[in-house]
Every structure is written in structure tokens, then in C-alpha cells.
Symmetry: C2
């Protein structure tokens, strides 16, 4: 497959830095740990969704932190999610579904029953399935003029993906790309928008997180709106539902949502950072994920799919 | 990438059967449900490993059923696992590690402490890292003479995998292949053999199951010995360990193993079957996984990685 001109690789000369040396090559984790402070980017509190589930049986808190996806992707749904969080809409609702090796889903258990469904805020933005993809040249030209292609450069381009002509990373997000379109992909931890049959495209009120092997067949079929950056284990370890698609059989089996808030409404929330996907350390990390040269490994794989290169996220050290 | 002669595709004419029709194409699950009885293959009780964990907090049983991989793959480890099960070696040991989006591992918590480690049976077979791969022509010729290549035909060959020149299925197992070698791949639910640094190749006493996105970089680096075919949720929902690599910090956090037995030593065990990967229904199922035409989907992916085509397994209906 030929590289597509519009997605120029941001980082062409990465392999030299990651050559193994006689003392043993660094592991991906060691490369991330050695990244410079200026290679980490702060995540704005407005881009964080904080979901507190009811405490577990040992009264331990269960907090899930979600990073909302950045412009230009899935923005109508992201705007709706902010509206819903500000309206405290999810408070008292529940995890309704846990399907092994697939997704955990939350929202209104009565969503399908018009007589009992919780009313949605009136300010929600209409959504449409054609917004699952972003027309890259147009978007980029609108924003940046003739240098649009450069603005949308991706790092670690991969032309051997099974689900997209090219995959890569841009602004901290894993993407699929074709010549004129780009879309966020479904990896472990990705958060997407439940919907009914097309043309329904969902509002953002019903959300799911991926807890298994990347369901890449959902790409371009459902809006990806973010990813879990902390606390995914509180979702991934939930008992699986026993009805079709992993829905819970009884209300008692559901896990209650205490509250969902935007980050700025949560006092004392740490600052989270992601390793810039345009940084030299990210390029070295991605290369090391594809070619493990640390001592445990005998045969480097020679490649890594986009979901096997999770973008590193950390809490920012207190200054 | 060119197709490699030795792995002739078993099923070339699969697409016609899976064309959508005006009434809506069947989903992968519907294709499996409609498979003929003679397309399902029984799994021999000797190829089943039954692991009963201690009951959960609600006193519910937790049984995990593992299918051991078929010849010619990983046979020294599989033989050791049978020896260990017959010796009741795992009884009273524990789940020692649960790392989110990676693996759950079990065995002797004191394995690293020579003074306290549980003795292994003397009959264990030596293992070596070169057995992670099978030299296909030799193996096949030994068994089948000049028609070896035909004997090792794979179904649904895929030449666009990132981790292997070709992937496909043979005898119910997902494989990676190069011109002269074949190896089982790591997917969700795969069971592999923990080891220390090479040349240690593990004995089979320390096992893990994959509970996240397929860690394909482990292929050819660790022996895959089977897959969980029932009860994976009892492993995938275990609390994650908080030490490095997901090891549990205290003995109390571990889950105890009540017993591990071969299938034939478990009275009343159902017969399990897998959908033959050489069957027409499997070909249609794999095609439908790669190109979802059922009504929910807007854009078929056009491909599916080998781990996104899990081999269907079921309990055989009582005759």
C-alpha cells in the first residue's frame, strides 16, 4: 500500500535513536520513564470526565477517568457529553451491560421505554453518522490554509493495518486514515457512543468502554469520544451480564453511577498528562513496542498494531 | 506480500456463499447458529483442562475450561501439563498475578524461592525455545509424505498481518506462518507458559491466560499451549494486582486454586465442540467477521485480524 501524501509522517528518522546496544536495549516502559518533561502534554480539565461508581463491596471508591477526544473528531457528541455532565444527567443511572472481551456500557436502564426514560437536556446537538469521519483536507484547510497537510501530519504511520489504509497518531490519539478521511479507532479502553440502527447516531447519553481485544470493525460505524485513562479496572472487572450482549438480567445486578462530572467540577483532581505522540520519546516507544529488544524477548515482532501502542498517560508530578 | 506455497488455502471459494441479500445479511453469530452438526468437531476429554478456583464471595463455583493445543504445536509443554494435572500439582496453589489488559497468571507463589517452592514431578519433559515454532514441511512430511503441504492447508489465509507473513486457521487453531515455520498466536483467552529469561522456556507449571488486547509480540517468544473455552470471565474479572506486572501484594489477595484436572478425570463434564476451521460455515463466519453486513453496520471493515475471528466453541447438545 502506498503512503498517502496528505498524511506526511511527522517523524521519519526515529530508528537510529532506538538501536539496541550491547548492554541491552531499553523496554518501552523504560523509554517512557526517561521521556523529558517537555514531551508530556497536560490534559485540560474540560477534557476530562470523572465517573464515580458506587463504592465496591469493601466500600472502596471506584473512580474512572475518561479523556474526551480532541477536535476535530466526534465533536457534536463530545459537546453533548459536556452538557449531560453539567446537567448531572448520569447521576443515579447505572452500568447496564458488561460483555466479556467486548464492552461495558452505561446510561439509562430505561432508555428504550419512552414512558420511563429519563428526559434528556434540550440543548443536545443533533448528531449524524457522517460525522464518524473527518474530511481531513477540508478541515485542515479551513483551519490552516495551504499548509493543511503538514498540520495534520501523523506519527508512526503504518500502512499494513487490516482495518484502514493507514494508521497513525495525531495530537495524542490513534487514528485510521484514508486519502481524504480520518477517524479515531477502537482500542482497549476506548469510549464510544451507543446507538440504535442507523441513521440513529446516538446522543452521547449511552456510552461504552472497550474491555477486550480491539473491536476495530466498529471504526467508522460508531462515534469514538474518548478513552479511559485511569480506573479502567473498575469497569473491566465488573461481573459479566448473562443476557444477550452482556446486559444484566435484573436491576440488582447493575452497578450504580454515583456521579459523572467534568474535570473542572471535581476539586483536587490531579493534572493528567499524555506523552505527546509527536515527541521523539513516543517514536522510540512505538518502535520498541514493535521490536522488543529488551532481554525477555527472543524474536522481535517487527510490527505492532495501532492498539498495541497505547498512548502513555500519567499523573503530573506535584510541582 | 505473496502467498507462500506451502500453506495452500483450504477454502478458496467462500465469498459467494456470504453475499448479502435484500432481506439483510446474517450476522456472524447467525451463521454459526446455522452450522450443520457435522461441521462441529468434538474436543477429546484428554485435551481439556478443568480448573476449579475457590468459590467466589457468594459461594458460587468458578470453573475455567481450557482446551489444550493439538499436535504438532507446543507438545512438550502440553505433555508436562497433563503430567502436572494427573499429579494434582496445582491443587492448593493460586492465581498470583492479574495485570489489566494483559494476563492472569497462576502457579506456585513460591516458585522463585528454591527453599519453599513446591517440588515438580520428576517426569516433566525438557523444553526448549526452538519448540515455539514448528518446521512445517518436515513435520508434515514425517506424518504424511509427499502430500504434506496439502495436509497443512490453512483456512482464511491473511497476508496482511502485522506480526506474521501469513495468518490462518488449521485444525481449530489460529496460527502465524512463514515459509517454513508455523506457530500458534496469542489472542484473547490464549493460554501460555510463563518462563524466566531465555534459554529458560518454562515447564508448563506456571501458566497465564490473556485477558486483553492480543499481545501478539509474545508470539514465537513463549509457548502457547491452549485457550480458555469456558469461564474466562472468572479470570478476566479478578481484581488487578497492584505490584509490578500485576502481581498481588499479599497472599490474601490471591485466589486459591481448588483443583486442576484433565477432562477425563471430571465426572459429568459436558462434551465441548469447536466449529471446524475447515468447514464452509467457518469460512462464511470469518468472512462475515471481516465484512459485517448485518443491519447495525454502515461501513464493513474489509478485514479482520486473526484474533478478531475467535473460533466458535459450544457445549454439544445432549443426544
Amino acid at each position: 500500500m502506498k503512503r498517502l501524501f496528505v498524511f506526511a509522517a511527522a517523524l521519519a528518522a526515529t530508528s537510529a535513536a532506538a538501536q539496541p546496544d550491547a548492554s541491552g536495549a531499553p523496554s518501552p516502559g523504560e523509554i517512557v520513564a526517561a521521556a523529558r518533561a517537555d514531551e508530556w502534554a497536560d490534559i485540560a480539565p474540560d477534557d476530562l470526565l470523572v465517573m464515580d461508581l458506587a463504592p465496591d463491596r469493601d466500600a472502596k471508591p471506584r473512580r474512572v477517568i475518561i479523556q474526551l477526544i480532541a477536535s476535530p473528531f466526534s465533536q457534536p457528541w463530545v459537546a453533548n457529553i459536556r452538557t449531560l455532565a453539567e446537567a448531572h444527567w448520569w447521576d443515579g443511572l447505572a452500568i447496564v451491560r458488561a460483555q466479556d472481551n467486548y464492552v461495558v456500557q452505561w446510561g439509562d436502564p430505561d432508555a428504550e421505554d419512552t414512558a420511563k426514560a429519563k428526559p434528556l437536556p434540550e440543548r443536545l446537538i443533533p448528531t449524524a453518522e457522517d460525522a464518524y469521519l473527518v474530511r481531513v483536507p477540508d478541515e485542515a484547510q479551513d483551519a490552516a490554509g495551504p499548509d493543511a497537510a503538514v498540520r495534520f501530519a501523523i506519527s508512526t504511520p503504518n500502512e499494513n493495518d487490516l482495518y484502514a489504509p493507514v494508521t497513525g497518531f495525531h495530537g495524542g490519539w490513534p487514528l485510521g486514515l484514508s486519502e481524504r478521511k480520518a477517524w479515531p479507532v477502537h482500542c482497549y479502553g476506548s469510549v464510544g457512543v451507543g446507538r440504535n440502527l442507523s441513521p440513529d447516531a446516538g446522543s452521547g447519553a449511552e456510552l461504552y468502554a472497550v474491555i477486550g481485544h480491539a473491536p476495530r470493525h466498529l471504526d467508522r460505524n460508531i462515534a469514538v469520544v474518548g478513552r479511559v485513562i485511569e480506573g479502567i479496572e473498575h469497569l473491566a472487572t465488573l461481573p459479566r451480564g448473562t443476557e444477550a450482549l452482556g446486559f444484566y438480567r435484573t436491576p440488582e445486578e447493575r452497578t450504580s453511577i454515583a456521579s459523572v462530572r467534568l474535570g473542572r467540577a471535581v476539586p483536587g483532581l490531579p493534572t493528567y498528562q499524555y506523552l505527546s505522540t509527536e515527541s521523539e520519546s513516543f517514536a522510540r516507544y512505538a518502535d520498541a513496542r514493535a521490536n522488543r529488544r529488551d532481554p525477555f524477548f527472543i524474536v522481535p515482532a517487527g510490527g505492532a498494531d495501532v492498539c498495541n501502542i497505547p498512548v502513555p498517560v500519567r499523573r503530573k508530578a506535584a510541582g
